[in-house]
Amino acid sequence: MRVGIPRTLSFFTLYPLLKPFFDGLGVEVVVSPASNKALLDEGVKDTVNDACVPIKLFHGHVVALKDKVDVLFMPRIISLDGKNTLCPKFLGLPDMVKYSVSNLPEIIETRLDMKKGKMEIYRFLYRVGKRFTDNKVKILRAIWHARYKFSRYRKLLLKGLTPEEAFTCLHTGQEPPHKEQSGQIKLAVLGYPYTIYDDYISVGLLDMLREQGVRVYTAEMVPEEAMKRMSKKLPKNLFWYYSNRVVWGSQYYINEQNIDGIIHVTAFSCGPDSMTNKLVELEAKQHQPKIPFLTITVDEHTGEAGVATRVEAFVDLIKRKKGII
């Protein structure tokens, strides 16, 4: 039995939970290859033209997986923190894919709604496990194991590892390499994990910045208690999990971390981001002193040279302002 997990969207949040879980059940996990041009082209063919790049890419990953696996894992994720929902496209994702891609294998579209309580994540895994085995002890043991790996993954992210590096650490069991970022300026790069950590969509933005002597901070490096603190600062929070993390992350870096600038990475025509982007922009503008703010919009035609030019100009401006060059 092979289960396929597309390498995008919730992958960067949930994979370290799912991989050990399926391993514990004795199910082989197949992950789609890293995003590339062929995958995206395939996705663009099947998706409605109005959808955003990550959704199109998701369809591409599904097409890449569909003939190699017996079951496709595509849960309907309603809420990940018990308060906020996800973008409506996540809510309707299994339906969108079902009616857009033909010849699909069986789909697991189990609902994950953390609004039902803290234990829901285990009940969710249990319901998924039931699909593969009737052995309750085996499922519970797999959940226990997954839980341990998952909490380790979150700690690794806080240390500043990218998800890919953290996956390798978890897989090989090695201690994480000691990573001390060097560089003269500190930039917060905010965006959804599936755009900034997907090197194909973000055209290698994080590495590009590091090469220019920038210390990069993302929303995944913000401690959970700080996120909670920031969530009480706004008069009204946004409705979406990932967007809220971007807003709270920006608040944390602006007010408590003395950041030099903010880069917001967003996908073309992203609905939630139209709100998020303006909110972060206004917060950065209203802070004393003003924080430089740059928006990078990515879509299926984004070229590396275009992004590089804008990012270099932005970094140079900040360096000049600080008197480094």
Partner: protein, 358 residues
């Protein structure tokens, strides 16, 4: 205190009446124009949807005229329109307009907050005043809906389309002037008579088209290039899925629309915010009621409608009903819409002829 509010369809007649009677000075929001839209586009986020931009433009126009309080509806997601009040406020403050924004959250979700804001609005003249005029306002809302749906029925039949459009505008004016429940009912009757007195060809069998989609672009002619008129003048009867009175009843005062959502469940078993799930369910309903086709209207980048659109081909195939989706934004031109509508109607006429022949 000078108060103003967003402009949507014919709702301004009722809303302005209510606030005047509550003791406010109402700054009348102008009908959205090119200027409204370009003002909105200038200061709105690029990918915010068309309603956000038109409403922001309206706000900028009314604060120029001196509005001090803006009143609008809130929401609790996952559709982003629920956050528009808050973001509009921040943008206006950033531009240097110190307006007060009263965002009314859904009473069923946040009852205390709702009562607090209601208290603020009602305070000048007291609760009995609200109950008295609230009833008249509700009656006006119902009257507007009846007159509008009659217009939809009669317009494709009317021999002179100009004349019936004019009769409708005069009818609206009568309802606007009415000042008691009795007068509203009389105005409604008079408006209906005016519409019916326009010479019409009652033997003509118009195409029956369902109009679905996001509430603002469905209700506001400035956003959809008056698509109901365009369709009506081309001999199609338009049935609109959303009317003000039933929407107010189902979404503000109670959790309604369960039957429509139930129809959507085989295709989309999840509330996706806005009117996404309703749109899917309504196509099923229109197909079962024997409509000739459905037009889905949505603002560009509207998330719930994108989800609905990607499921639409399957529904359309299963239920054998043609569906055309129009995404609208500030770049949309009327000629483009007309071309697409005419092509769509041509196809529907041919389909009907084929069915009649066989």
């Amino acid at each position: 205190m000078k108060i103003s509010f967003p402009y949507m369809g014919t709702s301004h007649i009722v809303v302005s009446y209510l606030f005047e009677k509550l003791g406010f000075e109402v700054i009348y929001p102008p009908t959205p124009s090119k200027r409204t839209l370009s003002l909105g586009v200038q200061y709105a986020p690029e990918f915010a949807c068309l309603p956000f931009k038109i409403v922001l433009g309206t706000y900028l126009e009314v604060v120029e005229k001196g509005a001090e309080i803006l009143i609008t509806s809130g929401g609790c997601g996952p559709c982003r329109a629920g956050y528009y009040g808050e973001l509009h406020k921040r943008i206006l403050h950033d531009l240097g307009y110190p307006v007060e924004m009263i965002v009314i959250e859904p009473p069923l979700v946040e009852p205390l907050d709702f009562l607090r804001k209601l208290h603020k609005i009602v305070k000048p003249k007291g609760i009995f005043n609200l109950l008295h005029y609230g009833r008249i306002a509700l009656e006006k809302l119902k009257a507007l809906d009846v007159v509008e749906s009659t217009l939809h029925e009669l317009r494709p039949l009317a021999l002179d389309k100009q004349q019936i459009n004019q009769a409708y505008i005069e009818g609206l004016e009568l309802i606007r002037q009415a000042d008691s429940v009795k007068e509203v009912i009389e105005a409604k009757k008079a408006a209906l008579e005016m519409l019916e007195s326009v010479p019409a060809d009652h033997t003509f069998k118009p195409l029956r088209i369902g109009l679905i989609g996001e509430i603002y672009v469905v209700l506001e002619p400035a956003a959809n290039h008056d698509i109901e008129r365009l369709l009506g003048e081309r001999g199609a009867y338009v049935h609109r899925s959303i009317f003000l009175a039933n929407w107010t009843r189902d979404n503000v005062l109670a959790h309604g629309e369960k039957d429509i959502r139930a129809m959507a469940i085989p295709y989309l078993n999840q509330m996706v915010g806005g009117h996404g799930q309703n749109s899917v369910g309504e196509v099923v309903r229109y197909a079962e009621e024997g409509f000739d086709g459905v037009i889905q209207l949505a603002p560009f980048t509207c998330i719930p409608e994108i989800v609905a659109k990607s499921i639409m081909p399957a529904v359309s195939r299963d239920k054998n009903i043609p569906v055309m989706t129009l995404f609208l934004d500030e770049q949309t031109g009327q000629a483009g819409i007309e071309t697409r509508i005419e092509a769509f109607l041509d196809l529907l006429w041919q389909k009907r002829k084929k069915q009649e022949a066989s």
